[in-house]
């Protein structure tokens, strides 16, 4: 790619547009001074925000566009009239090699549809997936698919494993990331056929990852593995359920601390500890769903996030841009598909 570490930002996406996109990029630039940016959207509003952060302004190029994809627009509609919108141009910048990674807080469905159309799936990839960063007691892990597709064949689950491993290599700097398939633990039902077949392939094939077999939902947050693979329906439900449980416990905790003045005093003294906890549980820290499996990377920030949350998505984009993720993943996928085909031929003729 011609300009390494350049991030394309859809400045008009999300609930707050350039206000959050520019402030978020500025925070991330403090942490990673090597980055530069291309911002797509309304020049006047972007410039107004950039004036507040001259350091960022120096490293930013603005590409003006009047048109924007609305947050509630249907993906099909966005695709039809999407050309030239800030979201479209942001993704196109990656396709043209003008940026390494695209980030938007805009319409998820439109982002997925446009990314697929513009960046195209990698060779041999049937379905791209959305990967989430999941906080664990140890540090973080990657969970995919969290909702790009419903259902997954054994082949698709195996591809997700390689895609997740490539991302873990980029983010966690381990050469052979540990990978597990999410499954259910009831003894009588031993998992879906697709999951079992993927398990057999991942176990028996020589791959650039450390396959650890099945895990259950309660192991995700324990940090048992670097990458957790699951089809998108269950993956999305797991992600949302974990978010809901965290919120629920925060509410319990707040109510519990309000119940007497002694508790209130205690909570005040322990406020340092509570701050650490709050920080640990802050959903803004792991904001950013990564769209994987295309010839280029697009990251979706939460639409309602603030500058800190958007900065996390930009941090993530930077880490991904640092690695040669796509090129390496392309090699891994090709080798894997080759082995699968060889096994199939051997089985057919053997």
């Amino acid at each position: 790619m011609s300009q390494p570490r350049t991030i394309a930002l859809d400045a008009m996406g999300g609930d707050f547009g350039p206000v959050v996109a520019v402030a978020g990029a500025a925070i991330s630039l403090e942490r990673h001074p090597g980055m530069s940016f291309v911002l797509f959207g309304d020049r006047a509003s972007i410039e107004a925000e950039l004036e507040k952060v001259p350091k960022l302004a120096e490293r930013t190029r603005i590409v003006h566009t009047d048109t924007v994809v609305a947050m509630d627009e249907k993906p099909s509609q966005a695709l039809r009239r999407g050309k030239g919108t800030s979201l479209w141009l942001t993704i196109e910048a990656v396709q043209k090699g003008e940026a390494d990674v695209a980030v938007s807080a805009g319409n998820t469905g439109a982002l997925m549809a446009m990314s697929k159309l513009i960046l195209r799936p990698m060779a041999g990839i049937e379905r791209p997936a959305i990967a989430a960063i999941w906080p664990t007691v140890k540090s973080e892990c990657i969970v995919l698919d969290v909702g790009a597709n419903i259902g997954a064949t054994a082949r698709q689950l195996s591809d997700y494993a390689l895609m997740g491993a490539a991302m873990a290599r980029a983010l966690f700097h381990v050469e052979r990331p540990t990978v597990a398939l999410l499954n259910v633990g009831v003894e009588e039902v031993k998992g879906v056929e697709e999951v079992r077949q993927a398990h057999a392939w991942l176990k028996s094939t020589e791959l650039p990852l450390d396959y650890r077999g099945f895990i259950e939902g309660d192991q995700i947050g324990q940090g048992t593995v670097d990458v957790v693979v699951v089809e998108g329906f269950a993956g999305n439900i797991a992600l949302k359920t974990a978010e809901g449980t965290a919120r629920q416990i925060s509410e319990y905790l707040r109510a519990a601390m309000r119940r007497s003045w002694v508790s209130q005093l205690g909570a005040l003294l322990a406020s340092g500890g509570f701050r650490v906890l709050k920080n640990k549980m802050d959903p803004r820290r792991s904001n950013g769903g990564t769209f994987l499996g295309l010839n280029g990377i697009a990251i979706k920030s939460h639409g309602g996030t603030d500058a800190l949350g958007f900065a996390s998505a930009v941090d993530l984009a930077y880490e991904m841009a640092q690695s040669r993720l796509i090129a390496r993943l392309a090699e891994d996928l090709e080798a894997f598909h080759h082995k699968l085909a060889a096994t199939a031929t051997a089985t057919a003729t053997g």
Copy 2:
């Protein structure tokens, strides 16, 4: 049923056998003095425990058996040699009308297989489901299926809705429980075909429940509805993920409170509040998976639970025994299946 409010207990199930089963039953009896029990298992060990709790001993009949299903036995194996085991006899007591509900902390797969064989599915029910009690910020809700089956047709999901509503009626004492289907929120993928078809049926059919449409995973713990319906693979993953997240946050909290002596002092003062929180989050409070859809109710306690946890499962059994759940559910299911058939005929001939 001949002896109302009689609970059949597998005294040999779980990691601790009669020690936990008897002590748990004694705690539950304090709360519900109307209950009586039939305990199945080794007479000498049961009697040794019952000596400690004379009030329970008065209301308990022991049925001796030497044979036990091992915790790690395969369901198929347990079925073959299962006749006469404490688990088998416990379930059979319900089938014979000698007890209202069966409770065991034993082998889940064997419990499911034996319950299906002995109690048989209700008329029109293709697949029984496991329902879990899920703590919410408001109180509790019921989630099913949490792992009896993998996948579910629209018809099965609709049946789950009626089964869950019957249980909510028994436990929460509401005549028209609120019910929702668990779905994913990504805009481009609008849910599985089965979930959409079940949605259409539940929305358009006159049913003894208040159908509220789709919810996402983060709404379960908010107590948005009384009953959450989902197929067993995603349901099991959601349940385990929520448990794991709760444990993860407890670990964060403990670590955060240990980080300075001021935090430690604060935590000490706030210990009343922390106790309330701990109690709220105590998994023993909602111990007990209910096997629904058979001509009789079997409840699975967690195998590793203590007396308090087992008492929750017995409490649950008592509440279910109090209601005429099965009879009412049979009527509801018949009416629903009749309406579905009528609609199908109308569509076919219309």
